[in-house]
Amino acid sequence: MSNNSILVIGGGFSGLTAALEAAEVGHEVFIVEKMPYLGGRVAQLKHYFPKLCPPSCGLEINFQRIKNNPRVKYFTLAEVVGVSGGPGNYEVKIRIKPRYVNNNCTACDKCVEVCPVERNSDFDFNVGKTKAIYRPHLMSFPMRYVIDDQVCEGTSCAKCVEACEYQAIDLEEKEKEITLNVGSLLVATGWVPYDVEKLTNLGGGQIPNVITNMQLERLAAPAGPTDGKIQRPSDGAEPKRIAFVQCAGSRDQNHLDYCSYICCMASLKHCTYIREQYPDAEVVIYYIDLRAPGRYEKFLNNIQQDEKVLMVKGKVAKIEEEPGSGDVIVTAEDIMGGLKVEERFNLVVLATGMQPSIAVEDLALDVAKDDQGFIIGGEEKGVFAVGCAKMPLDVMTSAETATGAALKAIQTVRR
């Protein structure tokens, strides 16, 4: 008799969807998420297309479904460390890192006020800071604080422990390991932004006013580090001319050898963010192909109506800082115009792509991957990849793959 439960690795949009679909048909589901919150990358966006909802929109519905469904159990700060057995009968070892904050935490923020240590916020892609003890983000689920033990000074400090009226902090919490028995595994480990430091000719990570599209999401997000104001990192100035560099590291055999699917749409979406704040800002989008497939075309059309948004066919291959002004000089060939041009911008956004997260940090699971790190097999073992772990996709299609794979997982455990 095969085990009826399903394990979902990764609690992003795909993982949540897959987990809930399976749980709502009656299966016990475990979500293993390595971050301190569920929701994945979508939680970091300001809005998401096609309808430009804030992420809380789609995510909160799913969290509500989790809250109301006792069959879904989730572990944050957790990672799979070993998988044995076979389809219908897997034994999965999971390591849970200490959060140092238990569920007494009322999210009152007292501890943050007293904590002396600051850290770069990885949630904000380093454009913002938090204390060593912090709330993962404004809409975090679970809404519980967490301590970054890489920077926390520990028991020698313990200021937070003192400040916490609810005995929510335990600086001596230890790592735990648990074992789960499940019948099938869904891999929803999603993506990481491609490392811009590798894009040396584009000034990635070197030039202050060259940022990534995900950093722009955080700058524009109302609860982000600038309270939603899009500004230049170097001096906080309002940008008047902004360039988007499409395919920054994607469709490139020296970097990501596939199209990241969403970055054209993401940049078009970003035009709406900019227009919202700066009615007169000029935007130039440098592209190879504008990929707004299917019904997204409408979105492209809307942006094309904007006279101050120019779209230039020709990839940017050189970006340099103008000494002194902090401005950025972008070189591209305007192919349709037949000219190689240098243009000056206040802010440049690299539309970097999505790299499968397991290409950067491998998963303790034996499953076939392509040379880029996308999962291409596993069905025969009852292992199914969904969302951006399978291929680069938008949220909507990720959710579709999740639903489909949940069905396959159910078939596996019912066999």
Binding site: P50, K51, K67, N103, N104, T106, A107, C108, M139, F141, M143, E165, Y166, Q167, R251, D257, Y258, C259, S260, Y261, D289, L290, R291, A292, P293, G294, R295, Y296, E297, K298, N301, K313, I335, M336, G338, D370, F374, I376, M391, P392, L393, G404, L407, K408, I410, Q411, R414
Partner: protein
């Protein structure tokens, strides 16, 4: 359910106690709602706080609990006292205490009035109590659900849905209006790659899918069948279908809509020569010519030594289809291969606006273009005219080659787009007051939302 007995528990932690005049609040609530129990607790979500509530439930028979504390987004799992106790959260922390900014109103003169924050808090609690007071627990009415699923449309989508439904253990009725299953996929000569490394067109896999569906005894296939009417409600639909002259009523739990698409009406593309020039065909027609092994010039049956593909023939155009059909760039790359395999000297031109092969399909683009006989350029079509000997002349501007030019080809293929079948026909035929289709927001040009 037994008598309602309401308990109000006000948390004084998280800055609530310090900022709210609790005396005034309790006084007011007592007066207005007179709950059975009302308590102020310093740390309501903590062990002791919860124990107090539990005590009152056990001892006093409290069965409706107003938790006047934080937002239900926090501590959502701790205030759970079993199925017989109804809990409501009065969010006085986030919605009142934490978000309150003193508007600087003058102190109330009359003594019974409170400061604005206290007024907010007491109103939230009053609303919560009112809610608890009026709420009745719904009684479930178990109904017998039909577990059979109807799949409407037997194309690739419908077949896949039917098979997976059956393999998960449900009975399926597959309704297809044509006499054969497979939809457009069954009319294709080759299919674009479906597997890593996504580089080569494949033999269509649809026949295997069809035979698996036909062999599955949980799936009842009804071809040449049309749907007449769906009545009832989810879990309890009655679907009237007509096969030949015979009508039947099926009991169905839910419906999967998979009626696919139809090609855009190419007669509207006369500006691109369709209908005027014999050797202008659509991509759908080309697919069938290739499938039937007759990829020749329609005008005279002569072999095709050169073909041009015009992408977005109608799509991405406000006058025709305002959306992109997603598949026709891939389709033309594939079909250019058909032209090339006829003759090693054959040439295929593809004129695109943007080459849309997103995601991993980029691999196919790269592999397909690596052929000396395939010529691609971004461009705008200026004019299509008829040349000598049945040739077609295509003039293009705004291209990558640096100047306007024309090519002369044996065959011009218009990469036309897909129109959803539900765009102008009420396919679902719902016997509902709201209309025969599922109402949607009209966001997606006729595609279901």
């Amino acid at each position: 359910m037994a008598d309602k007995k309401i308990g109000v528990y006000i948390c004084t932690g998280c800055e609530i106690g310090e900022n709210v005049n609790m005396e005034k609040v309790t006084e007011y609530i007592d007066e207005e709602c007179s709950p059975a129990v009302m308590k102020q607790v310093p740390f309501l979500c903590g062990k002791e706080g919860l124990a107090q509530i539990q005590n009152d439930i056990d001892g006093e028979g409290v069965n409706r609990v107003c938790v006047a504390a934080c937002s239900p987004r926090v501590m959502w799992d701790v205030f759970d006292f079993g199925p017989d106790v109804v809990v409501d959260r009065a969010n006085i922390r986030e919605l009142a205490v934490w978000s309150f900014h003193d508007p600087g109103l003058p102190e109330p003169e009359e003594d019974e009035m409170s400061d604005p924050l206290t007024m907010m808090v007491r109103d939230y609690i009053k609303m919560s109590v009112a809610k608890l007071d009026r709420k009745t627990k719904p009684e479930a009415e178990p109904i017998e659900l039909d577990k059979t699923i109807m799949v409407l449309g037997g194309g690739l989508t419908g077949l896949t849905a039917a098979l997976d439904t059956a393999e998960t253990g449900y009975d399926v009725v597959l309704v297809e209006k044509e006499d054969k299953l497979g939809g457009f996929a069954a009319k294709m000569y080759k299919q674009t790659p479906t597997k890593h490394p996504y580089e080569k067109a494949e033999a269509p896999s649809i026949n295997e899918l069809i035979s698996r569906v036909e062999a599955n005894d949980k799936i009842k296939v009804m071809t040449k069948t049309s749907l007449q009417l769906i009545k009832g409600a989810p879990g309890k639909f009655k679907a009237t279908v007509k096969q030949g002259d015979e009508e039947q009523v099926l009991s169905i739990g839910s419906v999967i809509l998979a009626t696919g698409w139809k090609p855009y009406d190419a007669s509207k593309l006369d500006s691109l020569g369709y209908g005027k020039i014999k050797n202008v065909v659509t991509n759908v027609e080309l697919e069938q010519l290739a499938k039937n092994g007759k990829l020749n010039r329609p005008s005279d049956g002569q072999p095709v030594l050169s073909a041009a593909f015009i992408q977005c023939a109608g799509q991405r155009d406000a006058e025709h289809l305002s959306y992109c059909s997603s598949v026709c760039c891939m389709g033309s790359l594939k079909q250019a291969g058909y032209i090339r395999e006829l003759n090693d000297e054959a040439k295929a031109y593809i004129f695109y606006k943007d080459m849309r092969t997103p995601g991993v399909y980029e691999n196919y683009y790269r592999a397909a273009q690596d052929d000396p006989g395939i010529f691609l350029t971004k461009s705008e079509i200026q004019e299509v005219t008829e040349g000598e000997n049945g040739k077609v002349l295509v003039k293009v501007t705004d291209n990558l080659l640096g100047e306007d030019f024309e090519v002369e080809v044996d065959l011009l293929v218009l990469a036309t787009g897909m129109v959803p079948t539900i765009a102008d026909e009420p396919v679902l035929k719902l016997g509902y007051r709201l209309g025969e289709q599922i109402p949607d927001l009209d966001l997606f040009d006729g595609f279901a939302d």
